[in-house]
């Protein structure tokens, strides 16, 4: 059918799209002209248009900062270990929950697992301090009373990585599980019945039917995760980090906060942001291309 009649037939869907598109237009694409701040010696009084240009000077300054290279390395470090652990966790949980027969139990678990997603990192940070502090935290006090040495959860940088990771998994696994569970409902029940008849055990059914069934979801989420590598949330590393683990806890987002916002160096903040976005785009396109090549599936 012609474009006109197609539109007339499905106009409700386009109407629903209107608000999200407006949102992206106003808040994501609109402000993009602000990128020029990265190429200017931004003076807040002269504003964006009349501040003097300084080309790549800001980038040169930023890249030569010792703290920047540490922040850059840490961003990738934290994101990679997150990917390795936080990515499979919801999949495994979803698979396990899927096997649970009693739908009542399933629903309870789903709801309860989702809760941590809503807790603010500020609260989590305070909680973790009470629980995991090296000398005064509850866990270490119990260990000490039982005769063991304290475990430096928050003060040794390697232990801190584990704590950081655990906090992330605890907070996000519920949300990811819901997504995969939704994907699981799309698998044809008959496939399971047929496999059972053929004598496939639980694990084999999972491996041959369930996993392939949610493969598209996994791939899409994986590509998105790769695309987000150069970026990292601000709250988690900032709240959980401290002076003793700053070797690992200083990331690009905390760097931008400290340099860009606290000292008013907007040029630097914008330059780092632009840098992150460019790399993120490269990562995303590459991951997508690779995925299409090997699995015939991609986002674009």
């Amino acid at each position: 059918m012609s474009a006109g009649s197609y539109f007339r037939r499905f106009w409700q869907y386009y109407a629903m799209l209107f608000l999200p598109i407006l949102f992206f237009g106003l808040f994501k694409y609109g402000p993009m002209y602000g990128i020029i701040i990265a190429f200017k010696d931004y003076n807040i009084f002269q504003g964006m248009w009349t501040s003097p240009w300084n080309g790549l000077e800001t980038f040169r300054t930023v890249f030569s900062m010792h703290t920047f290279s540490t922040a850059f390395r840490n961003t990738f470090l934290l994101n990679i270990i997150d990917l390795l652990v936080s990515f499979p966790a919801p999949i495994i949980l979803a698979l396990m929950l899927n096997e649970v027969m009693r739908s009542r139990v399933k629903k309870v678990f789903q709801t309860v697992m989702y809760f941590p997603h809503f807790v603010s990192w500020v609260i989590i940070g305070g909680l973790f301090l009470q629980i995991f502090a090296t000398n005064t935290g509850i866990v270490n006090q119990m260990l000490n009373n039982a005769g063991y040495d304290s475990i430096p959860f928050l003060t040794n940088r390697y232990w801190w990585l584990i704590t950081y990771l655990a906090a992330g998994v605890w907070q996000s696994v519920g949300w990811g599980t819901i997504i995969y569970l939704a994907a699981l409902t799309g698998i044809n029940k008959e496939l399971y019945d047929a496999a059972e008849t053929d004598g496939a055990g639980r694990m084999r059914r999972m491996w041959h039917i369930t996993l392939p069934g949610i493969r598209p979801t996994i791939i899409i989420l994986f590509i998105l995760a790769i695309g987000e590598m150069p970026r990292i949330g601000f709250e988690r590393p900032y709240i959980l980090g401290n002076a003793m683990v700053s070797d690992f806890s200083e990331v690009l987002s905390t760097f931008v906060y400290k340099i860009g916002l606290q000292t008013g160096e907007f040029s630097i903040a914008t330059a780092v942001g632009l840098f992150q976005s460019v790399i993120a785009l490269v990562f995303l396109l590459s991951a997508n291309a690779l995925s299409k090549k090997f699995t015939d599936q991609g986002i674009m």
């Binding site: 009084f45 928050l154 002076a243 003793m244 700053s246 400290k258 340099i259 916002l261």
Partner: protein
């Protein structure tokens, strides 16, 4: 707000209506005729997140209404207070200034930020306006005005900081009594006392002889008190000004101090988790639950709030528990060196885009007179003169008559300057309950003994403005890591961290300071 401006009488009544003999506050006499049409003056105000009684708000309470009555109405100016959250004052101020919709009067405690605005040309030159409208500003803020100058222009009016002492040490008197020890007055005596605290576990299990937090009010006094007595040159070239205070990282003897602290830490004399205690909460809790023996804090802070403050809570938790001020550390010359706050408080500025600059200066001039300052200092309550010091009178005011957040409105001064150091100390102590007054005054006195003021260069150090935040973090990292390192690894850890510090901008700051010092000495 409308009910305040309409129908209010003119501002000729005497100041606080009370039995005391305070002269009436005069509204600012404008040198020129009162403007014919009503102008609006927008003033920034800190919002500290406290909730207000119904009908009142942070920018609509007796504090703001008083200003409207006494200053705004007689001069036909409408005052509009613009609230800004205290914890985000820097970020929000940046946004306001960039939007060219900033209030006519803005301010910040952050000196580097003020310098940045001056450098970028966003502030109005107030020299002429002060000449015209600001006689009170000139007389009260005379010497402070120089700190607000840039390139020969008066781009900010720094508030006067009446009292520049910062911290004092506090020690458990009851512990000393138990051990039959006097209040220690030298580093050696203090070291012995700390060991005795530990050996006798006077606070029960988990006794902390020297409470410490990762906060400049606690670690800077400790380092400065123990470091080798600095020469004048060292003060300029070895210090680095990161924020309000100076950090002695490149001073002669800094490594030795940290080595001593490392030793003390491993002897179990210092708060074990101090590296995680960025907001002093854990250390403060340690004091109120009776575990900590000696600690540093803002002078007399433990005595604030006689109901729920630190001393009060300690007394509740531990019968007979009390903390008293001490000056426990001496350096190699027997001096008890500590730092002072700069003689300036807030930097009050008028953006270049303001259309009400004259009114702004008039407002500040009105604030800078004794009756008004006294009125705000006592939150609108009565006060009386005792021995030449104004002292508050117990009075219960209904909420509508109380002044909230008075120090946020009285932006021209940080504390009241009564003209003499002794008077300032006395008047500070006077606000404490009877039985603590003497101790509070001692704490304020101690914060001034052998204290050194900020060492200013003629022009601010550009690298410090740029790297202050990063370097502060790196210093704290160096301190924590070096103190926690095993004694055998101390040298390597300290040297590594120092290298990192220098690479993160510390070297640049040092070079600039050395050059500026050489210039100064020419």
């Amino acid at each position: 707000m409308a009910l305040v401006t309409v129908g209010c009488g003119n501002g000729q009544q005497a100041g606080p209506s009370s039995a005391s003999s305070t002269p009436g506050a005069s509204s600012a006499p404008s040198a020129s005729a009162t403007p014919k049409q009503k102008s609006t003056l927008r003033i920034e105000q800190f919002d500290r997140g406290k909730s207000f009684p119904p009908g009142l708000a942070v920018n609509d309470q007796e504090g703001t209404r008083y200003a409207q009555r006494e200053f705004g109405d007689p001069n036909n100016i409408k005052l509009e207070y613009v609230p800004v959250p205290r914890s985000q004052e820097v970020e929000k101020l940046n946004v306001l200034m960039a939007s060219s919709d900033a209030p006519d009067i803005v301010f910040t405690y952050d000196e580097s930020l003020a310098h940045k605005y001056m450098e970028q040309g966003g502030l109005m030159d107030l020299a002429e306006l002060i000449d015209q409208y600001g006689p009170n500003i000139k007389s009260y803020l005379g010497e402070t005005l120089q700190y607000g100058q840039w390139d020969g222009k008066q781009l900010a009016i720094p508030a006067k900081r009446a009292f520049t002492g910062i911290t004092s040490y506090m020690i458990r008197q009851d512990w000393l009594d138990k051990l039959k020890l006097p209040i220690p007055e030298t580093t050696e005596q203090t070291y012995e006392a700390l060991k005795a605290f530990r050996d006798n576990q006077l606070g029960g299990q988990g006794t902390i002889p020297l409470g410490l937090a990762l906060h400049p009010d606690e670690y800077i006094p400790l380092v400065m008190a123990l470091i080798k007595d600095p020469t004048e040159e060292q003060y300029y070239t070895g210090m680095q000004r990161l924020g309000l205070q100076e950090y002695p990282i490149l001073m002669d003897g800094h490594k030795d101090v940290v080595r001593t602290l490392n030793q003390w830490y491993h002897e179990g004399l210092i708060s074990p988790d101090f590296g995680l205690d960025k907001d002093q909460k854990v250390r403060k809790q340690g004091v109120s639950t009776g575990k900590v023996g000696l600690y540093s804090e803002q002078a007399a802070q433990s005595y604030e709030d006689p109901e729920g403050g630190i001393q009060a809570t300690l007394a509740k938790n531990v019968p007979g528990g009390s903390v008293v001020p001490a000056n426990p550390f001496t350096n190699d010359k027997g001096k008890r060196v500590k730092e002072l706050n700069p003689p300036t408080g807030m930097y009050v500025m008028v953006p270049k885009t303001s259309k009400a600059a004259a009114e702004a200066v008039q407002y500040l001039n009105w604030l800078a007179q004794m009756p008004v300052m006294l009125h705000y200092t006592f939150d609108g309550k009565d006060y009386e003169m005792k021995d030449g010091i104004p002292v508050k009178v117990q009075q219960d005011l209904p909420d509508e008559k109380k002044i909230f957040n008075s120090s946020d409105i009285l932006i021209v001064t940080n504390g009241l300057d009564l003209g003499m150091q002794q008077s300032n100390v006395k008047s500070l102590g006077a606000s404490y309950p009877e039985e603590l007054m003497e101790y509070a005054m001692k704490a304020f006195e101690y914060s001034l003994t052998d204290a050194v003021t900020v060492h200013y260069f003629p022009k601010p150090i550009a690298a410090e403005t740029k790297y202050a935040q990063i370097l502060k973090g790196k210093y704290e990292e160096l301190l924590v890591k070096s103190m926690l390192a095993k004694p055998a690894d101390f040298d390597k850890t300290y040297d590594d961290m120092l290298k990192q510090y220098l690479a993160s901008g510390g070297e640049e700051v040092h070079k600039e300071r050395v050059a500026a010092y050489a210039d100064m000495k020419k």
